[in-house]
Symmetry: C2
């Protein structure tokens, strides 16, 4: 059954594109169907419901680099560059933009984002900073997601204006400190 694979893939591709551009509630099954040049009923036929299509469409793998192979003093910069590349690249390699855009609106998206955070970012931090890894990962996420929020979602002028290299120069040190500094006793 080759035909079915094609339409299934077409639906998925259209869905990813739509969800990347708009939050969950503003994406309609009808719009996805139109873009995939099929009938709205097919979406349901293949994916049961909009909700489960959404779940299927977002398999977020951040492909985080293995920081153990990176100079200890450069890890913050490497991580930040990788993160920015996810957003700057137009290739839609990861579904992170999809997730962040919907997370404020859609609890399922928020839950998935928490899962990605724990299994990928926190896990990765653990490999290079086993001491206080969860705490460090939290701090790092607050800065990284803050960058994504202000630059790509809210589009604050002072953030959109910057070139990626400039952002790295300004922000990598902060990430680096969260990763390696001694933390207050708390």
């Amino acid at each position: 059954m080759k035909k079915s694979e094609r339409t299934r893939a077409a639906i998925l591709e259209a869905a990813r594109e739509q969800f990347a551009a708009l939050p969950y509630g503003q994406v309609s099954v009808r719009a996805i169907a139109t873009q995939a040049q099929i009938d709205p009923a097919m979406v349901v036929r293949y994916f049961t419901s909009k909700e489960s299509l959404f779940s299927t469409a977002i398999d977020v793998d951040l492909h985080l680099p293995d920081l153990r192979g990176v100079d200890a003093e450069q890890r913050g910069e490497v991580l930040l560059r990788h993160f920015l590349a996810i957003w700057e690249g137009d290739d839609k390699q990861t579904a992170l933009p999809i997730l962040l855009r919907s997370a404020a609106t859609h609890e399922a998206a928020a839950a998935r984002l928490r899962e990605v955070y724990v299994k990928q970012l926190r896990a990765m931090v653990s490999t290079v900073a086993p001491d206080q890894a969860a705490r460090r990962a939290g701090l790092i996420s607050s800065q990284l997601l803050g960058i994504a929020l202000t630059r790509y979602v809210l589009r604050l002028p002072d953030m959109t204006r910057r070139k990626p290299d400039g952002l790295v120069a300004d922000l990598a040190p902060a990430i680096q400190r969260y990763l390696t500094d001694d933390l207050p006793k708390d």
Copy 2:
């Protein structure tokens, strides 16, 4: 006409509460009306439309402190504490939570947030760090809003777990640096 003032205020209060809890699209005029114990038609009568009710409901004044009267080394901490208090307080003093929750979904909310950013945060940074104020304000907003996003909207476990004082201890230095450090030439 005293009665009208009361219902008008009741609608506004209900609206603020609803918008603070849910993004724009998930708040219905009917729900606001129910909470205010009035008829949905009254909402339109008093505020013309849901959209203009939203605009009226959010008059965001962050009441940012005047950092010029604060020890130069403590400004980051003071600013961060003030920001956290906005979110921790249950008194709904400011409409910032309303705005952030809707900003990912609703362009009008995002636009308003940009305005608040420019007129309040950036303006305040200018008073204590006139050099590169816009750039510094951008960096600070990325960290502050990142905290709000991860802790209060996404509720990442490693951020919700922390006590405010712990967050201040870990994060105030970063804010302080964005405020006062020499920045790379860019």
